[in-house]
């Protein structure tokens, strides 16, 4: 009995608790875990053993002891399973406290706001001191209380500074709450020239009578911006009596050599494009002013059908423009084009790889327009796509929120492919020779690039998992795994392995992550077999990114030079 107690029961309690608590806990929590172990777990173990011995009658047959042991073992197993679950949850909480991760569920839980709350939210716009802050409130109103957003914005509109009114007017005109025209008309009378121009354009576009009365005077004014705004509003509003004059006004402004004249016309048309002036816009696509090129591109892409060859030429030209603003507008314009076969992934790929983050963001924002809309096209795209990490990240984001029926299968297929590629790249990295002399640096670079690409494949798997499971748990795990903090990374990985559905995949990922981060050997055979340098280089060129292909070529060249 004593031996059962010391050799079986106590180590059973102690080892289980120790392995539960110590493996992933950060240093500052280990003292508490030790206290729990010595102060609670061990006495409980001793108490259990004592109870068992006390209940056992004198001279009881050995089978009774065995049966008691069986019951104890089953109870221990049950406790272990329960603890495992609780352990996973507590670890998750720990990771959640240490990382910042977006919790999408929270926004969804908020649901739709009632009229009173929408108006209360709009009140905060009065304190907004920048356009960005005001736009954030406006975005919240539109997404959480679309029905009342227009009325709520109109309620605070008269009290906002003209700069913010000018921005908000566009939303109000789009949402068109009751009697909005009267409110904005009154606000425009307070003297801000820019607001007056925007208001004129929007009110003329909806044929507001008071604005129409002023229109002939506006078309004659010396201020080119007011003239352009009024003309664009009249074109949209379709007032037959003033339409011809409005078009002529805009044509004159667009043909003017004075930048403030043609920029005024482009600015007004950019806010409210009209295809009647397309011919007058074309020369401005190659204007020396960046702003003119951006606006002309915007107007051009919103106006009617374009010939495919012309459209391709314009977009290719604009995507190579030295200005990031033009390149960002080019990708937005490409997304707007209503031409057949517009799904040109090369444009999207170029934007996503652009050196300027603003162009990359523009590419991400309109990626959906370039990607397939049906199942078969997606399947062939996934099969044909080479390693272009930026494009694949955009593909995952778009596919995850699409209504393609088998999107989960496609995402799983993509995730499996990334895991395979990561493993193969790591195996090649492991087996690469380490030559001495001139080519050693080249091989060392190739090794680094292979490691980086393997890491990016694993990040892509995490992104896919995040799309498949949008819970806060997965957000925490992903954020923890992206961390450079080893402890946090280990906790996140351990939490991930406790997950019911993805636990197996994470167990595979842990091996690959350890190979990437710690250089732990995977021990398998690389693609093409062992000692097959030429085959590995060919593989890198086929399955690697453009950069890996370059590095593989450089390695081969440097090896040839040496030999």
């Amino acid at each position: 009995m004593g031996r059962i107690n010391t050799d079986g029961m106590l180590p059973g309690f102690r080892n289980t608790a120790a392995s539960f608590f110590f493996r992933a806990l950060p240093d500052y929590m280990r003292g508490r875990a030790q206290a729990l172990l010595t102060g609670l777990i061990l006495p409980l173990g001793l108490l259990g053993a004592a109870l068992f011995l006390w209940l056992m009658p004198d001279g009881a047959p050995l089978e009774w002891v065995a049966a008691g042991g069986m019951v104890f073992a089953v109870a221990l197993l049950w406790v272990k399973l329960q603890k495992n679950e609780a352990y996973g949850e507590s670890l998750m909480e720990l990771v959640g406290q240490s990382v910042f991760a977006e919790d999408r569920d929270k926004a969804a839980e908020l649901g739709s706001l009632d009229r009173k709350t929408a108006f209360r939210l709009a009140e905060h716009m009065r304190q907004a001191n920048t356009i960005q802050v005001m736009n954030n409130y406006a975005d919240m109103l539109e997404s959480l209380a679309r029905e009342h957003a227009g009325a709520a914005m109109l309620h605070v509109y008269p009290d906002l500074p003209p700069k913010l009114q000018d921005q908000l007017l566009l939303r109000i005109a789009r949402l068109a709450p009751k009697a909005w025209e009267v409110v904005v008309w009154e606000a425009a009378k307070r003297g801000d020239a820019h607001l007056a121009e925007t208001t004129a354009r929007h009110l003329l576009a909806v044929n507001f009578p008071a604005a129409l009365e002023q229109a002939p005077a506006w078309l004659e004014t010396s201020n080119p911006r007011l003239r352009a705004s009024a003309a664009v509003g009249l074109l949209r509003g379709n007032t037959p009596a003033l339409r011809t004059r409005a078009r002529e006004t805009l044509e004159t402004l667009l043909a003017s050599p004075q930048p403030d004249h043609y920029l005024a016309a482009l600015g007004a048309l950019g806010a409210m494009p009209h295809e009647e002036l397309l011919q007058a816009i074309r020369p401005r696509l190659v204007d020396e002013s960046t702003r003119a090129r951006v606006l002309a591109l915007k107007i051009w892409s919103h106006c009617g059908q374009h010939e495919v060859s012309e459209a391709r030429e314009i977009i290719d030209w604009a995507l190579a423009d030295p200005s990031h603003e033009v390149r960002a507008e080019a990708i937005r314009a490409a997304a707007n084009l209503k031409i057949p076969d517009q799904a040109d992934l090369e444009w999207l790929g170029a934007a996503l790889r652009d050196p300027d983050y603003r162009v990359r963001r523009a590419g991400q924002a309109c990626a959906a327009c370039f990607l397939p809309k049906d199942q078969a096209a997606w399947a062939s795209l996934v099969a044909a796509n080479k390693t272009d990490f930026e494009l694949q990240a955009a593909m995952v984001s778009v596919l995850a929120v699409s209504d393609i029926e088998n999107r989960i299968d496609i995402l799983n297929q993509m995730s499996g492919r990334h895991v395979r590629l990561a493993r193969d790249k790591l195996l090649i990295m492991e087996n690469l020779p380490s030559p001495e002399g001139a080519s050693s640096e080249a091989f060392s670079l190739l090794r680094q690039v292979l490691r980086e690409e393997a890491h990016r494949h694993l990040d892509a798997v995490l992104q896919i998992l995040g799309c498949l499971d949008q819970s806060s748990q997965m957000s925490y795990i992903r954020a923890g795994l992206s961390s450079r903090d080893k402890n946090l990374w280990a906790q996140a990985m351990e939490s991930a392995m406790q997950l019911k559905h993805e636990g197996r995949l994470f167990r595979e990922l842990v091996t690959l992550f350890e190979a990437v981060r710690e250089g732990v050997s995977l021990g398998g055979e690389p693609p093409g077999g062992k000692h097959a340098l030429a085959a590995w280089m060919a593989w890198c060129q086929e399955f690697g990114s453009e950069w890996l292909t370059k590095c593989a070529c450089y390695c081969l060249d440097s090896k040839k030079e040496v030999s």
């Binding site: 050196p355 080249a442 670079l445 950069w547 590095c551 440097s558």
Partner: protein, 147 residues
């Protein structure tokens, strides 16, 4: 092509860029302009306006904070892989030291505007910059303590 990869190889050794992946470094390379100075020349003097920063690819440069730029009293010596001149680009102040070319030196230059663009594109670069500045501060501190 090989020159491009060789420059990437050089950048991998620069602490400033230690947080960037090699493919990101590859996109940085076209922004860098090669420059060279003969032994005895000065790259910049204390008090000059800072418009560029340099990554040394070959050679040695001595850093002096003496108010007289012609006096070579070095507080630090930089070699291949080290950077110089980044402080003036960050704080917009005049150069805080004079850089003397100790032997024929080659470097890659990145101008202020491009550096700001690169920082916006790769925010990780900011951490690398802090790391490089911090290492330099430690080196200066320890040399001051030894004195």
């Amino acid at each position: 092509m090989s020159l491009h990869v060789e420059r990437v190889l050089l950048l991998t050794k620069v602490p400033l860029f230690s947080y960037l992946r090699t493919d990101q470094l590859s996109r940085l390379v076209p922004l860098l302009e090669p420059v060279a100075w003969p032994k005895g020349e000065r790259v910049f003097d204390k008090g000059d306006l800072g418009l560029e920063f340099y990554i040394i690819t070959a050679g040695r440069i001595g850093i002096s904070v003496d108010p007289d730029p012609s006096r070579p009293v070095f507080i630090n010596e930089l070699k291949a892989g080290d950077c110089l001149g980044e402080m003036a680009l960050i704080d917009n102040e005049p150069r805080s030291a004079t850089a003397h070319v100790l032997e024929d030196t080659q470097a890659l230059a990145l101008d202020k505007e491009k550096l700001h663009g690169v920082l916006m594109t790769y925010p990780e670069l900011g951490i690398g910059m802090m790391r490089a500045l911090s290492q330099r501060l430690r080196a200066i501190n320890s040399s001051a303590i030894k004195k």
